[in-house]
């Protein structure tokens, strides 16, 4: 949070397409790690499922690039629902579909619009899955990230700094799932034995938010802003 906020990156359809390409690459790179986290408290497939979904979504979006930011997110969400399966497919699909819908037809997105869209997406996840923060789910990364983003924007930060704060909050949120006992999803069957493991869904959520922060930084650095 520096002096005068720079004009910031242009958050348009191309921005979200760059985010998706980078997200697919990060998920691909981290897939084995996500599956490893999913072994003791899940069923050892989170990385493989996310990789399949994001690879498919990236392919489809690159083939027929949607023209608005909202459409990029909503269509990515639909592809995830059609390819991921498990609980992650509907949950991540809903996150992006609701966020995309909230962006409407705007060709460019303001930081406040992005915040509101993320909030709409996260609310959609909470409603669909019936989970709350503290249940050891992806919400434990997403909710603090949206709060950090809001807080930073309210304090006058630019988008790059606000997303950097969101990234840190998401990473901390994911780490903070370690001592929690799972109350939703397959890990909940373990009861107290789910304590001591980091939640794979919170971890992948933190990765995706991290890529969003990276995309903003690189978009500005690349002079597109």
């Amino acid at each position: 949070m520096s002096e005068e906020p720079s004009p910031g990156p242009v958050v348009d359809a191309a921005f979200f397409r760059r985010w998706l390409v980078a997200a697919a690459a990060v998920i691909d790179r981290e897939a084995d790690q996500l599956t490893e986290l999913d072994s003791p408290i899940g069923d050892a497939d989170h990385g493989a499922n996310m990789r399949r979904g994001f690879t498919a979504a990236r392919g489809a979006i690159e083939k027929e690039p949607p023209e608005t930011p909202g459409d990029v997110l909503a269509q990515t969400g639909r592809h995830l629902i059609s390819t991921v399966g498990g609980a992650s497919g509907p949950l991540y699909g809903t996150l992006l579909r609701k966020a995309g819908k909230a962006l409407g037809d705007s060709a460019q997105v303001t930081p406040e619009q992005l915040r509101d869209a993320l909030k709409a997406g996260v609310d959609g996840v909470a409603q669909l899955g019936g989970a709350a923060p503290g249940d050891k789910t992806m919400l434990d990364a997403l909710v603090p990230a949206v709060e950090a983003l809001s807080f930073a924007l309210d304090k006058g930060a630019g988008l790059i700094d606000a997303l950097a704060a969101a990234r840190i909050a998401a990473q901390e949120g994911a780490l903070a799932t370690v001592p929690l006992q799972a109350r939703k999803g397959r890990a909940s069957y373990l009861g107290e034995r789910s304590i001591g493991h980091q939640d794979p869904g919170a971890t992948s959520s933190a990765l995706l938010l991290g890529v969003l922060a990276d995309t903003a930084e690189q978009s500005a650095a690349g002079g597109t802003g």
Partner: protein, 330 residues
Amino acid sequence: MKMLINVPETVVADALRGMAVAHPELTVDVEHRVIVRRDAPVPGKVGLVSGGGSGHEPLHGGFVGQGMLDAACPGEVFTSPVPDQMVRAAAAVDSGAGVLFIVKNYTGDVLNFDMAAELAEDEGIQVAKVLVNDDVAVTDSLYTAGRRGTGGTLFVEKIAGAAAEEGAPLEQVQSIARQVNQSSRSFGVALSAVSTPAKGSPTFDLPAGELELGIGIHGEPGRERRPMMTAGEIAEVTVDAVLEDLRPQRPVLALVNGMGATPLLELYGFAAEAHRVLAQRNVAVARTLVGNYVTSLDMAGASVTLCQVDEELLRLWDAPVATAGLRWGA
């Protein structure tokens, strides 16, 4: 861990290609991952559609055929299928009499089937759902995703399938399916952990000399661990866990189910012990089914499912069935 596969990414598609060559009486759509009765839609008949993660074979694809399911949607290993598969299956089996989705109670299956039901209804297909949640090992339903669907699924699919085959309307098929679920309870044990193709090694640690009580069918560890016991002792723990919750007043159907890697020789011995315990507890057993039906890949272990039946449910259980995994009277 050595596995008889090509690469992990194609295990489901490879198995579907195998089903297609072995079962010409089924329409196996390998690309879209739907297994359908060849004569679907059967005129005037309610269509039964189920599905879930792969790795539990013969559930569900092996139960497609006369007297049981009209279609099944296999997901990736231990991963719920996606709504597109379910909508495609519903469209393929709907004769106009409506479709019943049989859903095991796991977060992923519930979310995907819910989305599919909405989409199918948008296409003008009448959809009803039944949730199977028979696993008594999950004691705390408030702070978990609730009881899991396991062996009771076979009873629901068989008995509701028989009712549909006789021409019962959707509402009645759904009500019978619910009754069977409410009358069924299961409890399982694991003697070894399961290895998924994607991971290639055991997904949890089960030391030699120990067994896991209250196991799920996805390698999710169960209620507690104990030093290894005899088949007779395991039967006592297992049957008592089921009876404590079911408290049957009428005869039961008994499914003594292998988890995948336990030989039938051991399963039959375990079935004898389960019967001994049931007799000691004064529970009459109307029918017994022994075999690998609701499995968990290469996990060793077994589960017992009991379903309390009246004469009508027993009649429907005995009705003809002709599927890859279950076949009699047809």
